[in-house]
């Protein structure tokens, strides 16, 4: 076990843990955001750079600070490491800059996007972005692509987190899509028009942090905040059958895997459960699902801004915001 100090809070974690996982052990508002890192997927992370933190002290043995901000999702902790996230102005500024970069080519079509309400990028820009726009040029656009009968790829919204590529690599037998091109012309694609066709392909929709990969059986049916999440299960021969149903009245509008507060799925589910079982009678309903994720589907999430959490001691004044007094 090693001791790490994260934003002034000491936590003991096992050796080999990443800084992000250590922060998640503390939980709450000190956890850095993550757009590309996805716990269940090996090798993910390090790409979006929103989880950058400052390592103010490398370890007890070598107390020098790390010269650059490091990606917390892939950097392992050392004994005696001191990490600053919400208490460091450089980190918050760098994150602001990166959110701006992620948004310059994003269409911001939230009003017509199915992901709106549970979108990681929405939450991220709400918490760390700036409201003004400095980018004047035309945004990069792509045509919509149908990846088989169930999935639609809307590349314009993609932030190239590579999660869907890792998912296809690690939980399906054959991957037919990947990243083509480079720079800001890079895109997710199948190169020659191809259909993603296997039992677990639907999981790429769950891992997508934005609305780039959407469920065609759910597109434009409803808004997520009007639907009620229910935990349910069924006896499925291919997967665990443990899912979340998104219902409105008697209707099952959508089936997804059960996700934790960081949007990471507990267990991947198969396409039959996800796309074909849309009747209440197909499922044994366990009860309402409590959504802890920061989005409009969890009520009153934005009452406190990130930086005013009382458990963070000695906040620099620059990070404090004046709250409206009740």
């Amino acid at each position: 076990m090693v001791k790490v100090t994260f934003d002034g809070i000491e936590v003991e974690v096992e050796e080999g843990t990443t800084i992000l996982q250590a922060a998640r052990k503390i939980g709450g508002k000190v956890v850095p955001p993550a757009m590309c890192y996805y716990g269940p997927l090996k090798g993910s992370g390090g790409k979006c750079r929103v989880c950058l933190v400052k390592v103010a002290q490398g370890s007890a043995k070598d107390p020098r600070p790390m010269p650059k901000l490091v990606a917390s999702c892939i950097t392992q902790v050392q004994d005696g490491m001191v990490v600053e996230n919400t208490t460091n102005e450089d980190v918050l500024n760098a994150r602001k800059g990166i959110v701006e970069m992620l948004l310059i080519n994003h269409p911001l079509d939230c009003p017509v996007c199915d992901q709106a309400g549970e979108c990681n990028l929405q939450d991220l820009s709400y918490e760390h972005g700036v409201s003004a726009q400095r980018f004047e040029e035309e945004r990069r656009t792509f045509n919509k692509v149908d990846l088989g009968p169930y999935i639609q790829l809307h590349m314009t919204r993609c932030i190239l987190c590579y999660r869907c590529v890792y998912t296809a690599d690690q939980i399906t037998e054959k991957r037919v899509h990947g990243v083509l091109g480079r720079g800001d012309a890079a895109e997710i694609g199948t190169y020659i028009e191809n259909v993603i066709d296997n039992d677990f392909s639907g999981n790429v929709i769950d891992v997508c942090p934005v609305g780039a990969l959407t469920d065609k059986t759910w597109r434009f049916k409803n808004r997520v905040w009007f639907t009620k999440p229910m935990d349910a299960h069924r006896d499925c021969p291919t997967c665990s059958g443990k899912v979340t149903l998104w219902t409105r009245g008697e209707e099952v509008l959508r089936v997804t895997a059960r996700k934790d507060q960081y949007n990471e799925v507990e267990e991947f589910i198969c396409n039959t459960c996800r796309f074909d079982k849309k009747e209440v009678s197909d499922w044994t309903i366990e009860g309402p699902r409590h959504i802890e994720r920061g989005s409009v589907i969890s009520a009153n999430h934005y009452e406190l801004p990130v930086v005013n959490v009382p458990i963070v001691p000695n906040l620099p004044t620059s990070t404090k915001k004046n709250l409206p007094q009740e």
Partner: protein
Amino acid sequence: MGLKILTEHINVPGIETLEVYRKHGGYRSVEKALKTMSPEEVVEEVKTSGLRGRGGAGFPTGMKWSFLAKPEGVPRYLVCNADESEPGTFKDRWFMQYNPHALIEGMITSSYALGANTSYIYIRGELMFVLRILEKAIAEAYAAGLLGKNILGSGYDLDLHVAPGGGAYICGEETALLESLEGKRGNPRNKPPFPAVKGLFASPTVVNNVETISSVPWIVNNGGAEYAKIGVGRSTGTKLISASGNINNPGVYEIELGVPVEEFIYSDQYLGGIWKGRELKAVVPGGSSVPILPKNLILKTAAGEDRLMTYESLSDGGFATGSMLGSGAFIVFDEEQCIVRNTWNYARFYHHESCGQCSPCREGTGWMEKVLHRIEYGHGHQQDIDLLVSVAKQIEGNTICPLGDAAAWPVAAAIRHFREEFEWHIKHPKEATAPGAVYRGKLDAVTA
């Protein structure tokens, strides 16, 4: 003209053949190292020599070699980075084309020092003709028993392969190079783990530049202490400089580190002064990614001392008033050149070459290019200059690999030293976009 280590025999006819190369003392270092020295002794000599990485970063080679992890039962690799693609750099291509055996000799000696039994030369895809020259030379070396099993009866085995890339700038970054060499998409890896621990095929790997590896034979033959005597301070040895731009004698020069920049530009034995007798405006001393310096700062440091062609002197004053030796691509601009257009051209290159893996570089390089394009073509706004500075700052240091820094530095430096020229472009779009127009105002460089 100083001592020649790499280019002494490069003009000898037929030096690309093994026979002529050996007649001029070639492969002596292989015999000496394999028969009389232990691998540790070779590493020690390189450490003593103070040889520094010639690819751009200038990291001490001996130190890099001693960091190589040596776990039991795991192969080690030496990879030569011949993916020379920095705009302005052409020394390695020229050197490999005319003297391929010098690189192969360096590869054998260095591989022996590192205990690698398989080594690779990763060459840029555009250089197919050089690849053929190298393959021919390697075949000769195999036939002469200098490669393969039991080299020169010493019991040491080495296989040397040449692998061409697809011609991507990013594959010159060492971890992207290793990915590409493994047959994957050339995306840089997250560090740590560093290649010295987990590199090619998850084994310990050293990646060195062509020029670095080619300097090793001389060090083995003459001793590291002898090499350390050349040059100034911690910048030891000789360096190949690819000189281009508005000069009378462009080309590759081998210089002893420590030549004054003024002498290098104006002396007839080097660049021979500025083309058509014009005035010097600015110099990019180490390849397109390093900061540009205006005339007053390239000839003298901010403290008023003579600027020398060394790692330390060129970076004197940090990025505020200094630059870097980088890969030694010395690009000279005369008074007729437009800094805005040039900066836009560099930004366009980095936009095109960004791999698109991490967000600041993927989005930021394109953004900078678009803004610079706007300024160059007369549609800029006054706040664009600060916007560029801010975007460059958002990229710098926040990316996976140094390409983000390489894209941000030239833009930030051009604005730092030539802000007035940018302002003139924005204020007078008509004059600035006229054919052949160039800013004639005083170039008031920041000197503090």
